[in-house]
């Protein structure tokens, strides 16, 4: 016998089902969802994996200690493929469907900037463990739901100029920048930093990601009397600069943003990869600490490809994400609930945290960035490993 169901009932059921999905009635069960949007495929996949590992180690520690507010944490990842459009779609899903308590993400500055208004509208904290674009946290929103545990372009630019002055005694640095928004943003910052330091500009040149040869740009900088190169570019293009310098036999110091740290720079740049000194927020070859020992042991246990500190690459992704997750956990504890606005206020109430990168003291009491210029270290490649620049060279 056929059972007749009124169409109105079917419609009501369907609407109810969709509404339940949208309002997030707990697809995560009893766990607290922690979102992550980063590049898990394409060129930056290795960096996205580093962020994942840093978050995972921290989440495992928190869960081993009883979780948060009586719940276990669960990492929910989405791939943005370094594409802002995909990042926005994933952010909407994680905020409104998965109902994450905190969203981590933003390997690429354009993706992070695209997510900022979504996070503000969702009133859920968005924590950036990598992207350095100044405008990500200096975004004009009030209240500001965006926090960062990473470098900040504006501060990196000042640090690059100070390092070049201190280490090489430069008088006329030239800029060699990738022709994209990141390069443009740093061009302004570097010019301002050079002016503030009273140094002349030895030219500013841009190049494309696909450029096979950078010798014409470098030739212009050499002709303009540049005595040091300030470089802002990703791994492949940075390697092209080094190869072109080799081709030209131009032995000039290269001070770089952290672009070269994200992949196989030493392989691509060849034997002179170590001429590039770049900014980092952390190196596992730095001073020992109980947190470092604990994190390294956890990484070696969880990931068979990690046999020692040389295998934790890029280290900044792991370290920034690890500390950022613990800081977010402190914010949730301070909030005492999963309300986004309460967690946002909780970030400002964090008093102290002894992390992997440093001992944080009220890291978000006066701003949205937990790391400052004094926290940056300088590194170089040595036999494929990222190591701090020897003290005598600094």
């Amino acid at each position: 016998m056929a059972i007749l169901v009124p169409r109105r009932t079917i419609l009501a059921g369907a609407i109810g089902g969709v509404a339940a999905g949208l309002t997030g009635c707990g697809p995560r069960g009893n766990n607290i969802g922690i979102g992550l949007i980063t590049a898990l495929t394409a060129q930056s996949a290795k960096s996205g994996e580093a962020i994942t590992r840093g978050l995972t180690v921290a989440i495992d520690e928190i869960n081993a200690n009883g979780g948060l507010l009586g719940h276990r944490l669960e990492l929910i990842r989405r791939d943005d493929e370094s594409n802002p459009g995909k990042g926005v779609t994933a952010a909407r899903e994680l905020f409104y469907k998965e109902r994450v308590a905190v969203l981590f993400g933003g390997l690429d500055t354009p993706v992070a900037r695209a997510i900022v208004p979504i996070a503000s509208a969702a009133r859920t904290p968005f924590v950036v463990p990598w992207a350095a674009g100044t405008a990500i946290t200096h975004n004009g929103t009030d209240p500001n739901y965006v926090f960062r545990v990473s470098a900040v372009d504006e501060l990196v630019d000042k640090a690059m100029v100070a390092f070049a002055q201190r280490t090489y005694g430069v008088r006329r640095p030239g800029l060699i920048l990738l022709n994209n928004p990141w390069g443009q943003s740093n061009e302004k910052g570097l010019k301002a930093a050079l002016t503030a330091a009273g140094l002349a500009l030895g030219g500013s040149e841009k190049f494309e990601h696909s450029d096979v040869d950078v010798t014409p740009q470098l030739g212009r900088l050499r002709a303009a009397g540049a005595d040091c190169l300030m470089m802002v570019a990703t791994v492949g293009p940075s390697a092209q600069v080094v190869k072109s310098l080799d081709q030209m036999n131009w032995d000039v110091p290269v001070v770089s943003h952290w672009g070269p740290a994200g992949g196989r720079f030493s392989e691509l740049a060849g034997p002179h990869a170590n001429r590039v000194k770049f900014v980092q927020t952390y190196s596992f070859f730095g001073p020992d600490s109980p947190v470092k020992t604990r994190v390294l042991a956890a990484l070696e246990t969880s990931y068979p490809d990690i046999k020692g500190p040389q295998d934790v690459t890029p280290a900044v992704g792991v370290a920034n994400a690890y500390d950022a997750m613990h800081l977010a956990a402190l914010a949730i504890r301070a909030a005492g609930s999963l309300d986004g606005n309460a967690i946002r206020r909780g970030f400002a109430r964090i008093d102290r945290y002894d992390g992997l990168i440093k001992s944080y003291r009220a890291p978000f009491a006066h701003g949205q960035d937990a790391l400052g210029e004094q926290d940056y270290i300088w590194a170089q490649f040595d036999q494929g490993r990222i190591v701090p620049v020897p003290a005598k060279a600094v």
Partner: protein
């Protein structure tokens, strides 16, 4: 100013574009269609050479196998993305070749990975010297234009002096008549696409040691090669050779002279100006159409 190395490097890069562009010329002459994803063939040549040498294959063998594989890919392009559409007198091969190129790029990424890798070459280790002067270029920079010129001359001789080349010319002039006299038109067109892809593969292999190997490397190469093919005239191999060298030189001179911010603007404005003055390219001829 580093004018000499810049010019020599410009000639080398222009020749890379030229090798890929010669492929456009060959297929366009034979059947009027192009593989718009020629850049994918260039990428495939570089990636396969890298993978084979990493697997321990001797370089000469790896080069031959990689070129052969690129030729095979050209046959697939013709069979899957050209022939079905030409048979229906459709222009959809335009999109089909682009789509097949994307399939190739993404398929190779699954095998090769997303990260760029380095390809070492003894021809790109130390810059060349002329007496006491450092030329600021590697031997490979000088070899690339030579390879392009030799291959262009070889193609020219092949087409004018051999039976198979004559068959290609016959197909280009009148497919139906060529078929009536027993020329296997389908095989000739397929061979043209195989040769076209093999040339692009050679270009990819030659540029890789100067840069690096990655699955996205063919996009910019293919785009510039297409500009070179149009600039030189799709119907003229020697026009393409001249345009390739000119394009590379202009890129280098503009970057060195007025800065990299103007390179693309000036180079492509030049392409537009030349095409305005000579719509069929530098050495191309207007085709006569019977109505």
């Amino acid at each position: 100013m580093d004018i000499v190395p810049a010019l020599l490097t410009g000639l080398a890069l222009g020749s890379v574009y030229g090798l890929i562009a010669l492929g456009f010329h060959i297929t366009s002459s034979v059947c009027g269609a192009l593989n718009f994803a020629q850049g994918a063939s260039a990428m495939m040549g570089a990636v396969l050479l890298w993978m084979l040498t990493q697997a321990g294959w001797p370089v000469p063998v790896a080069v031959c196998v990689a070129i052969g594989a690129c030729g095979l890919y050209g046959l697939i392009v013709e069979r899957a993305a050209i022939r079905p559409f030409l048979a229906r007198k459709s222009d959809a091969w335009l999109m089909a070749t682009v789509a097949l190129g994307l399939v190739c790029d993404n398929g190779m990424m699954l095998v090769f990975g997303a990260e760029p890798r380095s390809m070492a070459s003894p021809l790109a280790l130390s810059s060349m010297r002329l007496g006491r002067a450092d030329l600021g270029v590697y031997p490979l920079h000088l070899l690339i234009p030579v390879v392009m010129l030799v291959l262009a001359a070889g193609i020219d001789l092949f087409r004018r002096k051999t039976l198979h080349g004559t068959a290609m010319l016959a197909v280009a002039q009148n497919r139906d008549a060529a078929s009536i006299v027993g020329i296997p038109v389908g095989r000739v067109v397929a061979a043209a696409f195989a040769l076209s892809s093999a040339l692009a593969g050679i270009a990819g292999m030659m540029v890789a040691p100067l840069s690096h190997v990655e699955t996205g490397m063919g996009v910019a190469l293919g785009l510039k090669a297409f500009a070179v093919a149009i600039l030189g005239g799709l119907g003229s191999a020697w026009g393409i050779v001249a345009a390739a060298l000119l394009f590379g030189l202009v890129e280098a001179i503009v970057t060195l002279g007025i800065g990299s911010g103007y390179t693309q603007i000036v180079t492509f404005l030049l392409v537009i100006i030349v095409l305005t003055l000579r719509p069929d390219g530098l050495l191309g001829r207007a085709q006569v159409r019977k109505v």
